[in-house]
């Protein structure tokens, strides 16, 4: 008999979503991106326990990692607790639900181009099951101290340390992390939340995680135009975050009314502009870098003990 959906409500705790206990299953492991990044994640040290591609169950990835037809089988056989998704956009929402239904606790969806309507149904489904979603259209996350990465963040640019990085962008995150590393400021965890209109984990969720995380001493928040996530993050920082936060907002020169790429960054009259967001951070005492290369110096002055620590 097929098992009923494995509802495990509640207990969305504040421990970091990936660590040495992460047991990873890759959905879409036989695809071009899936196989490339599966190898990268395993090479970095992530405990890659399974892959899933319907119809390819029984084979192995890289001669070692078992491939299953469904996430349920993968979880049953390997105890996977974390999933990363590289399937095509029309199938991504179902893949996310499948992972949550199979009992996975953290689902990271790299796929871009997932329709908003699909995500509107995915988010409550995961909430019912108490699973955390990161993304979609996000680069995932990496924890250099534990040497665990889930997603596509290049391992070459990170360094163990105590700066938590959270960002709506993909490659802009790499840029900032790279600069931090070059300035000798290692990272505790770097999280790309994705820039789509509907996402599983937002700035506030990550700020809460970093505030509670013993490894994190300072936080870098990289926002962009559109929406009001940054404004809400600023309000949350004022109330609940005692650790130093430095921010940067992309899209200061974007013309109003134009959609800037897949990220869903769009400026509409009067709200969601870079100026609004910068003002919101300034109002709560969060320094905002004018250009990316200014971030490291702002972090250094906001958390002077940092560089010595790492």
């Amino acid at each position: 008999m097929l098992a009923d959906s494995r509802s495990k409500k509640g207990n969305r705790n504040v421990s970091m979503p990936i660590d040495r206990n992460t047991r990873l299953v890759v959905q879409g492991i036989t695809g071009r991106d899936g196989s490339f990044h599966a190898a990268q994640m395993a090479a970095y040290g992530t405990n890659l326990v399974a892959g899933v591609t319907p119809g390819k169950g029984g084979s192995k990835f890289d001669n070692t990692v078992p491939i299953f037809d469904s996430v349920h089988e993968a979880v049953d056989a390997t105890g996977a607790n974390t999933s990363v998704i590289y399937v095509r956009a029309p199938f991504a929402a179902d893949a996310i639900c499948e992972a949550a239904d199979a009992g996975v606790r953290l689902v990271v969806c790299i796929t871009e181009g997932v329709p908003v309507r699909d995500m509107l149904r995915v988010v409550p489904f995961l909430k019912e099951r108490g699973a955390r979603l990161l993304g979609p259209n996000c680069p995932g996350l990496i924890a250099p101290n534990a040497r665990v990465k889930v997603g596509i963040l290049p391992a070459s640019i990170v360094q163990p340390g105590s700066v938590g990085v959270v960002s709506r962008s993909g490659t802009l995150t790499y840029e900032v992390v790279y600069q931090l590393t070059r300035a000798g400021m290692g990272q505790s965890t770097c999280i790309g939340i994705g820039g789509d209109p509907v996402i599983g984990t937002n700035f506030i969720d990550c700020l809460r995680l970093f505030q509670a995380d013993e490894e994190t001493e300072a936080i870098v928040l990289i926002g962009e135009i559109g929406g009001s996530d940054e404004e809400e993050a600023a309000a949350f920082i004022k109330e609940k975050v005692s650790k130093p936060v430095v921010s940067f907002i992309a899209g200061q020169t974007a013309p109003p009314g134009k959609r800037m790429g897949h990220a869903g960054a769009i400026v509409t009259g009067g709200s969601g502009t870079a100026a609004d967001k910068i003002a919101a951070f300034a109002a709560v005492g969060v320094p905002v870098a004018k250009i990316p290369s200014e971030i490291t110096s702002l972090v250094a002055s906001a958390a002077p003990a940092l560089k010595r620590a790492s």
């Binding site: 790499y174 809400e232 009067g270 004018k290």
Partner: protein, 377 residues
Amino acid sequence: MKVHEYQAKELFARYGIPVPPGTVVTSASDAEAAAATVGKPVVVKAQVLVGGRGKAGGVKIAKTPAEAREKASQILGMDIKGETVKKVLITEAVDIAHEIYVAVIMDRRAQKPLVMGSADGGVEIEVTAKENPSAIQRVWVDPLYGVHPFAARRLAMALARDAELAKPMADIIQKLYTLYDEVDASLAEINPLVVTTDRRVLALDAKLNFDDNALERHPDLEAMRDLDAEDEGEVRARNEGLSFVRLSGNVGCVVNGAGLAMATMDLVKHYGGQPANFLDIGGSSRPEKVVAALSIILQDTSVKSILFNIFGGITRCDDVARGLVTAFAQMNLKLPVVVRLTGTNEKEAREILRQVPAIHPAETMDEAVKKAIALAA
């Protein structure tokens, strides 16, 4: 994706939302004939994708068919915010008792669709939001349930202030949400939704934007796309899987990732330059994408230098490098190119790029931007 008013009204009609009958024409003589068929005063409305056509003179009332011909000839060919009017909608002029605003949009903050209404229709919602915020009614929708009849009824009562009119209005609100949901819209707006003097409720205007990510499952909607009304470069970029927005500067930008692309534009401005475009080549870039990106940028003759800022993730730098090599081989490129490649497979990428001596390498984003500005000067 945006569609014209007349196309949105076709969809409205399909979902049972009442619209006044109308005819789309492309010539003044057809406008006259269409007005004659109506047999009453008509409104001649420019069909453009940009907003603000009313203020620009793109909407005119005509009492007679001859007048409709005259107004249509004034409007056809008109330039509205850079878009040339190629079609006008001829539709019956109705006697309006009351104008209402209704829209369904995606509320990012609430992570839910939002039905907004205002008893002050005909006005832009942003203006109402500023001048009379309490006039805006908001109903958030749980997409698992849709708009409950009771919620539509409450909103309609607040807008119509008349139990009899609230019934057809609640019906329209539910249908507008169903339409929004089923066609993967990102905006479905009726402004104005009118009550006529003979107490009919009609959608006098119609606006629909669609989630580009969902068009794959709506080939009928994709077929409504008006390529004529869009920027040629932007159309071509979309066909190649690129995100492109034309700007007015001289530094052409090719970047992977929307955030980094915006940050690159910001940095060009920061160091005193002017970006010529926003261009995100996206993840998993094939070499052909790079060729396409370059040829789109090069159509703009004001571009004086090209800046590649590529930070690898899903995108592999060696792919990008191969694309550059192929592109340069194919295109006989005369402009200076600054390339900054970092991340996954960056060593392999540098090996490949060494084959092309015309490239100005840069190691950091700041260095790359400064070089590109200098080369454009």
